[in-house]
Subunit: 223 residues, 2 copies
Amino acid sequence: MASMTPGADPASEHETHIDEWRAFAPLELPPILAAALENFREHGYHGTSVRDVARRAGVSLPMIYYRFENKQGLLVALLESAMGEVLQRARQADKEADGRVLDRFGNVIECIVLHMTHRAATASLDSELRYLEPANRKKYAALRKALEELLLEIIAEGAAEGLFEVDSATDTTRALLGMCQAVTGWYHPDGPLTPEDIADRYAGIALRTVGARVRPTPRTPKM
Amino acid sequence: MASMTPGADPASEHETHIDEWRAFAPLELPPILAAALENFREHGYHGTSVRDVARRAGVSLPMIYYRFENKQGLLVALLESAMGEVLQRARQADKEADGRVLDRFGNVIECIVLHMTHRAATASLDSELRYLEPANRKKYAALRKALEELLLEIIAEGAAEGLFEVDSATDTTRALLGMCQAVTGWYHPDGPLTPEDIADRYAGIALRTVGARVRPTPRTPKM
């Protein structure tokens, strides 16, 4: 985003290479983080011990302490990598729309919902963020905030152009991000809807939420 | 609801007396459940032991086992009492609108958001429901489903009357309930917005989501 200096970009340290924001290869996490993720999902943050993670990952305890310091470090790494990835994708999705506000909005919502489904395992860890220590929480909040600001800017722009009708761009942004986040609560890979189905439907629902009557230009065919 | 036989009503065993769906007295839980709630919130389900709850509540361990069987029983009691309460309130809110679909919809959304804020502590336990054992999960899902069906029926009715415009009443219902549920993730009693402010704003946002252009009749003044 032009308004941010590169050094201050909270996503910069989580850069991974993303070719196409709609294309999701299976998530590849380092074995320690993959094991931590499974444990957090099964037993929650407080129900997980670093010893369990070491056992599951097949590494020594000191190795985990060396790489991640402690259990908190594992949660931080997982949350930040997920949020960093969706932020990168959302910026790409936004850019692709080339300034057309309806497409920017549709792309970004689609992208966020694709993340909540294709990356449901890490995305659903968001409910564990209350266990972050204050400094880590602040850092994670900055990443989240960047995503919120991207969407807010688009909604405000749409309202300014007279394409959207909202009472408050801030409230609507928060409501829409909550709507997307909640998908992780019910989405199941074996369910009847694919991530692409859900993303498409949510983009339509979100367009009504911002009072848009015009549908955006047709999207490229789904993969 | 007329379509349900009284015996089959999943809310019936959670009846508490509610005078006015908009009025929330502070939540009064039996001491054991109040202690369990605090522990679950601080340490998560798996991070909580029945021993911790007994200590906090100042009761003996056998007393908890006698009353709630085990830790699972504590979570079930909390989740069901919260969902039972919101369901009762939502039905009252719906009834009050006397069949006017815009008011029914506005009231029910307002009611759900009031629950997510005034009852944030119990409502946010929803993220722990993945730890419910299958039979308990099924029972809780039935309560949730009843709320979903109430909202779905209103949206479908609004669409049938030509007042709402949605692509799918089912998708929109799920999206809106997710939007409301997500409020528990950021709401704070010391924040700048009161539960009534948030409920009012979300009712407005939700009206756009269902494509309603007409605002409902003014609501009674907030308490």
